[in-house]
Symmetry: C2
């Protein structure tokens, strides 16, 4: 027998799918939803459906967008000769927060990881190579996370780009090794950008 009535159990299970939410937190969240007004509960449900249906990959860089091309790719002021390659859209936000980098991005959608069943063909590497091949790109900064999978992916991409006559660089190890780009502070990220080295 379950402890709570079925609609509450079912809603708790949904909250438990979210990162960092345990059993007790999930139940508290379900009860919090019951305390919302009907309009607010509907707004919550709609926000889930809307985000899921309207957000997709930018057709140029793989970043998340609700338009055809993301705001960064569409921005005429950005330096189109540099592309910074990151694992996911949250890393773009982390780097944008520094307000130092004015180039474009390329979002891989993950890293090469045999453990997680991710091979190069699951990432947007082909899209990246097509962008690099068009002649305007001078440098590709590979800002994958500083861990085994991130390094492997950086080396893999670098080996494909270098023959095209485009410089590849890697963020400096200002980022704590084994850490997560998303949680790095602005100063550390800025140092890492300044100290980037050619691969």
């Amino acid at each position: 027998m379950s402890l709570y009535i079925e609609p509450i159990e079912r809603l708790s299970e949904q909250f438990r799918r979210l990162p960092g939410v345990g059993k007790k937190s999930a139940v508290r969240m379900a009860f919090a939803v019951l305390e919302l007004s009907s309009d607010d509960a509907k707004a919550f449900a709609d926000a889930i459906i809307d985000a899921k249906s309207s957000v997709h990959m930018c057709s140029v860089c793989g970043n998340m967008t609700d338009g055809d091309v993301c705001a960064i790719c569409a921005d005429e002021e950005r330096d189109r000769s540099v592309i910074c390659v990151v694992e996911d859209s949250r890393d773009v936000v982390a780097l944008e927060r520094v307000r130092e980098y004015n180039g474009l991005y390329h979002v891989l959608g993950g890293v090469i990881s045999p453990m997680a069943g991710k091979s190069p063909s699951d990432l947007t590497i082909d899209m990246l190579l097509r962008r690099v091949a068009d002649g305007t790109v001078r440098e590709v900064i590979i800002a994958t996370n500083p861990n085994v999978e991130g390094e492997t992916t950086a080396m893999y991409i670098s080996k494909l780009i270098t023959p095209l006559g485009v410089k590849t660089s890697r963020l400096a190890y200002g980022i704590p090794v084994g850490g997560d780009l998303e949680y790095a502070d602005e100063v550390t990220l800025n140092r890492a950008l300044e100290g980037r080295r050619e691969i």
Copy 2:
């Protein structure tokens, strides 16, 4: 300028309304929703709407139910001569987990708290008095939380019930003072039930 695109910002804001969810966690949760399949995202949204629309107060005891009368009130095996009064439905679950108590419950829907603008008329006290007046009830155990508001509410209810010739008791102070009933362990709750004293 917001850091994330609008649908993600909007979904994050919804998650931030939940207890214990900060800004970063909310963003992580929003991104986790984007990684769900469309069917799973729909199931999540539906669970919110369903819980909000199907869950309401038991017409007898004020507990949460998706039927007319909650499972405990409907259960013929329960001892109808004892009513345990609690603040909310989660407290019912906490006490049910002990598997010692076989009486009925009454869910107040809060406690008397001038600070939070809750007066006795905002609680289900009238419903409780009607239940007690019908003659089958022998004892009312007042299991509000052991803090100032909980004690005040217990005294208030006790003063209304004692003239009706029904015994009122309070959970023993096995529960840590200032604590929250919902987080008490089974053994502590059991001690508290056994050691209840007449008011």
